[in-house]
Every structure is written in structure tokens, then in C-alpha cells.
């Protein structure tokens, strides 16, 4: 008897899961047996690799094994699978779903990856280098698609993304856009985050995001080991990566801690103050382009910093149950409104640049990033995402996730 396990696959035939459960199916391969069978699904990957949990229904309490009754005629039986919380993969294929029969004989299997955004300081060397190489290819010494990301986060677009209600959703979309392009180059990459309220000396080293010269007269060009994925990094025409910390990199900068950030309040209107601190404070903990809105995205650190800003929102959403877009506690336009009618910051507004609009008050220049890239494993948010599409990112209410998760933010119904 052979059992086929069917899980969404990308063009290369690879499967990925996050903490959010996805529907999968198993069936007896037609012609491989004459009788119905009882099979058990279980983990069979490496001991240190990713692990998954199963359930017969969509839940947050899957188990490491699931028994299925498979009809002899090859009819598929659905089940749900998710990454086991805090057991992410480090490499593709280190998670394996195995189907065994009543004699514990393997009758089918499926390689996959529990692909999760992680604390950058906890990446393996391979994870780190895969991320850096993909980012370097995307940049291609200033001639690659990365320039369009840099051109998105500029002065003329400041009001699309800052100072009003949609600061968190817009940046969530921006990060996901970049992550999907990186995954098109190397599907095993997930965007890491810089947890800026904790020391991260390994992040600011010459084998990761670059080391700042200790001699202040030397300038602020960060130094890389030869052959590093970002050694040839360029944006605009001449700029390398310049960055000088205002803090001892063996310690964390002076920013609000995660607990202090969560203490801003459990309503969206209150929590959104995190745009000033810790978000703004983290940006200005360095000299260099990272400390100004129009130039910050020239530095790849931007994306790790903002992944943490997004993680803080995700954690806040989880701990306070703030994923229902219909609730004003989850999202609110209270406070300053963008003239003339808060466009771009209301739930049903599409977001620039992915909507391609150049009608005022949107930036007049051609939108640098359109359409929003698709994913081979999920079908959200579509080509022109709206503000509301970014909120329930795990699909708690919509049942459709955006295809990413953070290592310390679980899926919970």
C-alpha cells in the first residue's frame, strides 16, 4: 500500500507551513491495495528539525500523531497540519510527515519546512547566510529589484505609511512583499527580526549586517568579511551601508522593552503610539541613513528592525485577542487623519504602491512596487492589498493566513 500526502506546494514541489493550520489530505494511491486502511500520520524529520502537529479539524491544539481511515478507492481524507509552536525548521526538509500502517511500516511521506520568522541572533549560520545571499542577489550591486523597495520608502510616500492609523498594516505589507521576493530566490528564507530591546552583538558583526569601524575617524562604512552576501550592496547610485551605533553593541539601545511597549495599552488607538517609541527610538539608535524616514530603507537593517516592530504588533494582537477587523479595539482611525479624507489609512483602502495609484494625495511618481507578489502556498492578500488584509495575518477569523509567523507568537483560536 502506498499513501499520498497532499500539501500545497510551490513551483519546485516544496511545501511550507507556519503555526497557522492548513488543510492537507491523504489517500491510498489507486491500485496499491484492495482494502481500506488505517494509517497514522506522525513526524519523521531530524531530531533537531521542524516538527508539525495534526488535527482532524482546524484548531490550535494539534497533536504529534493523527489516525486516519483511508478508503480503498483512493478518495482523499482531509486533515489539518501546522508547525508545532517553537519547533521551527532550520533547513528545508528537516520536517517530514510520515504515514505508517498498523505494523509501523512507512507507507508514505512528505518533506516540508516549518518556515518561521526568527530572532536574528538565533539563526544558524546556514540560515543567516541563505538570508544574506538572497538579499545580496535581490540587490545585485544596486542593479537588482531591491531598488524598488528603497524607492518605496521615500519622503514623498511618508504619509502613506507614517503618522496615521495604517502605520502597522502598511509596514506589514512592505515586509511581506520583500520576504516573498526573497523566497522566490530561496524558498527556505524567512525574514529575521532584530529584537532591539535585547543585546544583539552577533547581528552587528562583519559576518551578518556589518561591523562599524571602531575608529571614529574612519567613517561609518560597515565592514564585511570578504565574500559576504552584502559586500556589494548598493542603493541609489553611490551609497554603501553606513551605520554607527549610539549604544554599546554588546548591550541593547535605550528603547522601550517589549513589556513597556505592551503597556502602551490594549486598544489599537493607544498601542499605535509605538510608532514613536520604540519604533522611532530604534531607528535613531544609529547615525546613518537608518535614522531618517526618506533614507532608512537603504540599510538592510531596516527590514530586521521593522520585522521586530511588526512582531511587537503581532504579539500585542495575540495577547489581547485583537485580530477581529470589525472591532475598534483591533483597528481604529482615532486621532490624526490624513487630509483630505484619511485615504490609505481606512480599513477598506488599498495601499500605495501596490495599488499603482498616482492620484493625489498619493505620490505622483510611478508606483515602484506593483502588483503585490503572490505566494505559492497562500492566496492572500491578492495583488492590491487593503489595510484590513494585513490585520488578521494568521487567518484566525478569515481562515486564510498571509503565510508567515513569528517564533514567539503562537496561533490561537
Amino acid at each position: 500500500m502506498n499513501v499520498d500526502i497532499d500539501l500545497a506546494k510551490d513551483a519546485a514541489g516544496r511545501s511550507f507551513v507556519t503555526w497557522s493550520p492548513v488543510k492537507a489530505s491523504a489517500r491510498i494511491r489507486p491500485g496499491s491495495t484492495q482494502a481500506a486502511a488505517t494509517v497514522t500520520l506522525r513526524n519523521a524529520g531530524s531530531a533537531s528539525g521542524g516538527r508539525v502537529v495534526f488535527d482532524s479539524q482546524r484548531s490550535d491544539s494539534g497533536t504529534p500523531q493523527l489516525v486516519l481511515q483511508l478508503p480503498a478507492n483512493g478518495t482523499s481524507v482531509d486533515f489539518w497540519v501546522a508547525g508545532e509552536f517553537q519547533r521551527p525548521s532550520t533547513d528545508y526538509g528537516d520536517a517530514v510527515i510520515e504515514a505508517v500502517d498498523s505494523t509501523q511500516t512507512r507507507v508514505g511521506s512528505c518533506d516540508l519546512m516549518v518556515r518561521i520568522r526568527k530572532d536574528a541572533t538565533r539563526l544558524t549560520a546556514k540560515e543567516r547566510d541563505r538570508f544574506l545571499v538572497a538579499l545580496g542577489i535581490l540587490n545585485d550591486a544596486g542593479m537588482g529589484p531591491f531598488q524598488s523597495y528603497r524607492d518605496t520608502h521615500v519622503a514623498s510616500a511618508q504619509d502613506e505609511a507614517h503618522g496615521y492609523a495604517a502605520f502597522p498594516p502598511w509596514h506589514r505589507a512592505y515586509l511581506l512583499d520583500l520576504e516573498r521576493e526573497l523566497q522566490a530566490l530561496d524558498s527556505s528564507v524567512a525574514l529575521p527580526y532584530w529584537r532591539f530591546d535585547q543585546p544583539a552583538p552577533t547581528l552587528f558583526a562583519d559576518d551578518f549586517l556589518g561591523a562599524t569601524p571602531t575608529n571614529v575617524a574612519q567613517g561609518d562604512l560597515v565592514q564585511f568579511v570578504p565574500g559576504h552576501g552584502l559586500e556589494f550592496w548598493k542603493t541609489d547610485t553611490v551609497d554603501p551601508i553606513e551605520r554607527r551605533p549610539h549604544f554599546n553593541i554588546a548591550q541593547a539601545p535605550q528603547v522601550l522593552t517589549q513589556t513597556q511597549t505592551l503597556a502602551l495599552g490594549n486598544t489599537y488607538a493607544a498601542f499605535r503610539r509605538y510608532e514613536g517609541a520604540p519604533h522611532g527610538s530604534a531607528h535613531v539608535s544609529f547615525d546613518g541613513p537608518i535614522n531618517s524616514v526618506p533614507t532608512a530603507a537603504k540599510d538592510p537593517l531596516f527590514f530586521l528592525l521593522h520585522a521586530n516592530v511588526d512582531r511587537l504588533w503581532a504579539y500585542w494582537q495575540w495577547i489581547n485577542n485583537r485580530t477581529d477587523v470589525a472591532s475598534a479595539l483591533t483597528f481604529s482611525t482615532a486621532g490624526l487623519k490624513r487630509p483630505p479624507n484619511n485615504i490609505g489609512h481606512r480599513l477598506n483602502d488599498t495601499m500605495w504602491p501596490w495599488n499603482g495609484s498616482n492620484v493625489a494625495p498619493r505620490p505622483g511618481s510611478p508606483a515602484p512596487r506593483t502588483p503585490f507578489p503572490s505566494s505559492s502556498i497562500v492566496n492572500r492578500p491578492g495583488s492590491t492589498p487593503m489595510v484590513q488584509d494585513m490585520i488578521d495575518y494568521q487567518g484566525v477569523h478569515s481562515h486564510k493566513s498571509l503565510g508567515f509567523d513569528y517564533d514567539d507568537v503562537p496561533f490561537e483560536l
Partner: protein, 270 residues
């Protein structure tokens, strides 16, 4: 992991820290929204007023004035809320760039350079040309000036490269010349020159790759075929070749093991 247990622990930690958690909250009133920082009575406004006063005060402690810059610069990330303070902030930064101590001058010029501020560009240019006392070290000034893609930076960079013996200044100069089509030959020579600082050679490779990929590839192949060439130079050019083009291809070359990279670049005979 049991999610419910994970939640219980997380909530417990937060409640111990006095953080309100969960659903049991009423919708905020208009006054609460104001107090949260998005209405007329913004607490940020008071902070920015105080910070501007400190920054404007030449007698204030430099460390305090540096902290004020950080507070104000963080405010710029709030866009419309900070806008009423922006002109005064930039005006004060220009004064600090002229009169502050070395650290303050550097921070002020860093921010002004990011903003492509004309006053800062002139100050940096005059500093590099020697018509005024240096406001920041040469390498730093070149780096700031390079953020404003201006022909002045390129002509100064060519002069610095021709005249300066400093590794730092030469490296910054080469980076700026990455936008100067007339410097292809200079960059190619620097990339091949075994007597040049190795950091400058690597920077030249980066610049030439940006300026003329074909010429870079030809020079890189010579370097890779040269058995007497330094391992770090080879690693740099090989890495660039492996990452050329956005299309997915064969598995990219990962950075070489650290053990082979730890040799510090040293200057050889020039």
C-alpha cells in the same frame, strides 16, 4: 508546546509588570485618545519643545544635546505630528553643525546629509577643499557628501584618491567614484593593484561592479586565475560573481568559512 499554558505564563508576566491584558476594555473616549498621543494634547509636543530648547542652548551639556537630537529625530518618524517642529529643528541642526563639539557636529551633519541639505553640502565641500577648518574627519565628510549624489563629491573624491595616503579616505573616495563613469580605469587599476590597501581593492571591486559589470567580470577573472592573489580579494570578487543577476540559478556560493577570512587586510608595498 501547550498554547494555553504559554498564554498563561505570558499573561502572568505582563500582569506582574502591571500591564493590562485582554478583552475586558471599553472603547477609548475622545479624551483617552488625546492622552494616548494622537489628539491636541500630545505629550510628544512637550517633549519636542523641551528637546529643541536644549539643542538650541549652546551652554547645555553635549551629552544632553545629543540626547535631544535623538529625541527629535525619533519624532521625525511620526511625520505629520512632527511637521510643525521640523523647520526649527533643521535650523538648529545647521547651527550645531557649525558650533557644536565634534560628536554633535557629526550627528547634525549626518542627519542633514540624509536630508540632502544644501547648507550641509556646502559646509562639507568647503571643509574638504580646505577653505575652512575640517568639520569632521575626511573619510566621514566624504561619506556624508556622497549621500547627496552631486558632482562635487566625485571631483573631491578623485582628488582625495590621488593625494591621500589614508586607508579610510581612499576607501571612501573609491566608493564615491562608483558613480563616476570617467573613473572606470582608475577603479580597475586599484582593483588589480597588489600594492594598494586590500580594503581599497575590495571597495574598488564593489565600485567597478556597480559602474561597469562587464569590465568588472573581466578583471575578476584575472584575479581568480592568479595563484598569487590574496584569498580575501578572491573571495570578494567570487562572491560578487555568484550573486550577479536576479534570476534564481544554481545554489549560490555561501561566504567562505570564517577561518579563511580572518586575515586582516594589510597594506603591501605601494
Amino acid at each position: 508546546m501547550n498554547i494555553k499554558e504559554y498564554r498563561r505564563k505570558a499573561e502572568s508576566l505582563l500582569r506582574d509588570a502591571g500591564v493590562a491584558v485582554g478583552d475586558s476594555v471599553a472603547l477609548p473616549s475622545a479624551a483617552q485618545v488625546d492622552n494616548a498621543g494622537f489628539g491636541a494634547a500630545r505629550p510628544e509636543a512637550d517633549v519636542w519643545e523641551r528637546a529643541l530648547s536644549i539643542l538650541e542652548d549652546k551652554r547645555a551639556e553635549p551629552a544632553l544635546r545629543t540626547a535631544a537630537i535623538q529625541k527629535l529625530q525619533a519624532g521625525t518618524f511620526l511625520g505629520p505630528q512632527f511637521r510643525p517642529y521640523r523647520a526649527r529643528y533643521l535650523r538648529t541642526l545647521r547651527e550645531v553643525a557649525l558650533n557644536g563639539n565634534s560628536e554633535l557636529r557629526r550627528s547634525a551633519l549626518d542627519i542633514l546629509a540624509n536630508a540632502k541639505d544644501e547648507f550641509a553640502r556646502r559646509l562639507l565641500t568647503e571643509s574638504l577643499e580646505g577653505s575652512i577648518e575640517p568639520v569632521v574627519p575626511t573619510a566621514v565628510a566624504l561619506g556624508f557628501l556622497a549621500r547627496d549624489d552631486h558632482g562635487t563629491a566625485r571631483s573631491i573624491a578623485r582628488r582625495v584618491f590621488a593625494q591621500s595616503d589614508s586607508l579610510d579616505a581612499r576607501e571612501q573616495a573609491v566608493r564615491i567614484l562608483a558613480s563616476d563613469a570617467s573613473s572606470k580605469g582608475l577603479l580597475e587599476e586599484a582593483m588589480k593593484n597588489k600594492s594598494e590597501f586590500r580594503q581599497v581593492r575590495r571597495a574598488s571591486a564593489v565600485a567597478l561592479r556597480n559602474l561597469d559589470p562587464l569590465r568588472f567580470a573581466l578583471t575578476a577573472s584575472l584575479i581568480l586565475d592568479d595563484e598569487s592573489e590574496f584569498a580575501d580579494i578572491k573571495a570578494s570578487v567570487a562572491g560578487a560573481i555568484s550573486r550577479a543577476g536576479p534570476a534564481p540559478g544554481p545554489a549560490p556560493i555561501a561566504p567562505p568559512p570564517r577561518a579563511t577570512l580572518r586575515k586582516q587586510p594589510k597594506r603591501r608595498m605601494r
